[in-house]
């Protein structure tokens, strides 16, 4: 990674932290500790299962929400605040800007997931009083969740590179929902005929297959994950994220970022006012 991408990534991370994104960790801690203490009182024999299921589900959903809501604003906010022009006026290429933003958001989510993982293991220790070998499987589930985040970050950036924040959020969230049904879509494609079959197959392979990344339930039952699935998911996530990111770069490269005459005038006026002394009453 070149230094310019690194700078943009670290700035994106710092901005996310400044925006109090990591405050979600407090909600997560309250949710998990509450569940760990309460479930033993109101249910039977599922304390450990609840901590794993709830913990990993919360890690996943909190991360997805953060990825979508920050990802959609990464480009549009920079344009809106006109900070993008300051960045691009320096020797920074457009693709470096997009890739830097991606790594910054991914880094934020990895740090967030790291702290949440500590919370999950702490809650697990609280309910089980010890760790067993099978608990290490939780790390695989967390790894898959991070892979899922990479895809969602890249998709949010892709949509944000050509659409408004609201529409980008709708697109990204819809794709997450559709992606959760990817296996069903493939099943439907298998049963369909003619043009429908082709369309359904195309759609099934185009949408991200998020169902393959969700191993929370099986891990909660201490069922091992095949090494092949880990490789497949890793390659798939990296490939999909790279493709979506390439799409975002391609669109952003061709996007007309020139200011309109009115906007230029407003910008100049703002600049002139900021340099004028004494300030206007």
């Amino acid at each position: 990674m070149n230094a310019r991408i690194g700078h943009i990534a670290s700035n994106t991370f710092r901005e996310a932290v400044r925006d109090r994104v990591l405050y979600n960790l407090i909600a997560f801690a309250v949710l998990l500790s509450g569940a760990a203490i309460l479930v033993g009182q109101i249910s039977i024999d599922i304390e450990k299962l609840v901590v794993i299921n709830l913990g990993l589900t919360a890690v996943s959903l909190f991360g997805i929400v953060i990825a979508i809501f920050i990802g959609i604003g990464l480009v549009s906010k920079e344009i809106e605040k006109r900070t993008l022009y300051t960045v691009l006026s320096r020797p920074v290429r457009r693709w470096e800007f997009i890739v830097g933003k991606f790594f910054g958001l991914a880094g934020t989510l990895v740090v967030n997931t790291f702290f949440m993982a500590i919370g999950v293991f702490a809650a697990l220790f609280y309910v089980a009083h010890k760790f067993v070998r099978a608990d290490a499987l939780i790390l695989i589930a967390l790894y898959f969740i991070v892979l899922e985040f990479l895809i969602i970050c890249s998709l949010a950036l892709l949509f944000s590179s050509f659409s408004s924040p609201l529409l980008s959020a709708v697109f990204a969230f819809s794709l997450f929902v559709i992606g959760s049904f990817a296996e069903d879509l493939r099943g439907f494609a298998g049963m369909a005929h003619g043009l429908t079959r082709w369309l359904a197959t195309g759609a099934a392979y185009l949408v991200p297959n998020f169902s393959a990344f969700n191993v929370i339930s099986s891990i909660a039952h201490e069922q091992p994950v095949a090494a092949q699935l880990i490789w497949h998911n890793t390659l798939y996530a990296l490939f999909y994220a790279a493709m979506a990111l390439s799409g975002a770069v391609l669109i952003f490269e061709h996007r007309n970022l020139k200011l309109s005459s009115a906007a230029k005038l407003r910008l100049l006026q703002a600049l002139a006012l900021s340099f004028a002394w004494p300030p206007a009453p």
């Binding site: 249910s43 996943s60 959760s180 929370i216």
Partner: protein
């Protein structure tokens, strides 16, 4: 329930079906606990809630084990739906074929709630073939096939339940059943002794000590809590404190209604 279809709920969970199953299982426990506490005779939502729970997470073994024990016993102890309990257990076995506990629980429902010894023997025999199955399954299958003494078989099953569970509630329940079984057996034997005394002497014994002396009992018979059994004027044998033996079926005063407890569960 607003959504009754397990398939729709599974789809709506977006892959987070494990957590949703845990939520539904907690709902089952709360529903059963509330109804049981209120001595309700109707448990209409119990079977559908269990169906949703196990469809969302087919590997949630606790839902099959406890679910069957909620469904099978007659009200107010349970829903009085042993057939639904068997369906649930068969679904559990279908999804967890290597878990011998489920075969044991299936045989338990056949034996305890339906008195179907042949099917109980079949369930235990199926379970005994599962890798790492407990050896007592084979013994139980044989005992069922022979249709052996009811007390011995019941004692063996509750002892096995106690030994094979780590759950405090289940173990406590097994102990309660074993204590009540001992009372049932004692009362049956003492009642036989009273009949024998009557046949020999042409009258009923006036006290338990007279009965003990005449029938060669080692002393005045006592229950598991060391309270002496009572001999009533009409020759009936009664347990000293019936409330201490919630599952006893013999030696209870006429018209006595047992105090139901929440731990009135099978394994």
């Amino acid at each position: 329930m607003f959504i009754t279809s397990p398939k729709v709920l599974k789809r709506a969970s977006l892959g987070y079906d494990g957590l949703l199953a845990d939520i539904y299982w907690t709902r089952v426990v709360q529903y059963f606990g509330f109804r049981h506490h209120n001595h309700s005779l109707s448990y209409n939502l119990l079977a559908p809630l269990l169906e949703i729970t196990t469809h969302l997470d087919p590997h949630l073994v606790v839902a099959y084990q406890f679910g069957a024990s909620f469904l099978a016993p007659a009200p107010p102890s349970g829903a009085g739906q042993p057939e639904r309990a068997i369906q649930l257990m068969e679904y559990g076995i279908q999804n967890n074929p290597d878990n011998w506990h489920l075969y044991y629980d299936l045989g338990f429902v056949y034996y305890m709630n339906l008195k179907d010894y042949k099917k109980a023997a079949d369930a235990f025999a199926r379970g005994s073939k599962v890798p790492n199955a407990h050896p007592f399954l084979r013994l139980l299958a044989a005992q069922m096939a022979e249709h052996a003494g009811e007390f011995d078989t019941a004692r063996m099953m509750w002892t096995a339940t106690y030994q094979n569970s780590q759950d405090k509630l289940i173990r406590q329940n097994a102990v309660e059943h074993l204590r009540s079984l001992r009372v049932d057996e004692d009362v049956t034997n003492l009642q036989e002794a009273v009949t024998h005394f009557g046949e020999r002497m042409g009258r009923l014994p006036v006290s338990m000590s007279e009965l003990a002396a005449a029938e060669g009992l080692p002393g005045v018979p006592v229950d598991p809590d060391r309270h002496p059994y009572k001999l009533m004027p009409d020759g009936r044998v009664e347990v000293g404190v019936p409330d201490d033996f919630s599952f006893a079926t013999r030696g209870l005063p006429p018209g006595y209604k047992p105090v139901t407890k929440f731990h009135d569960l099978q394994p």
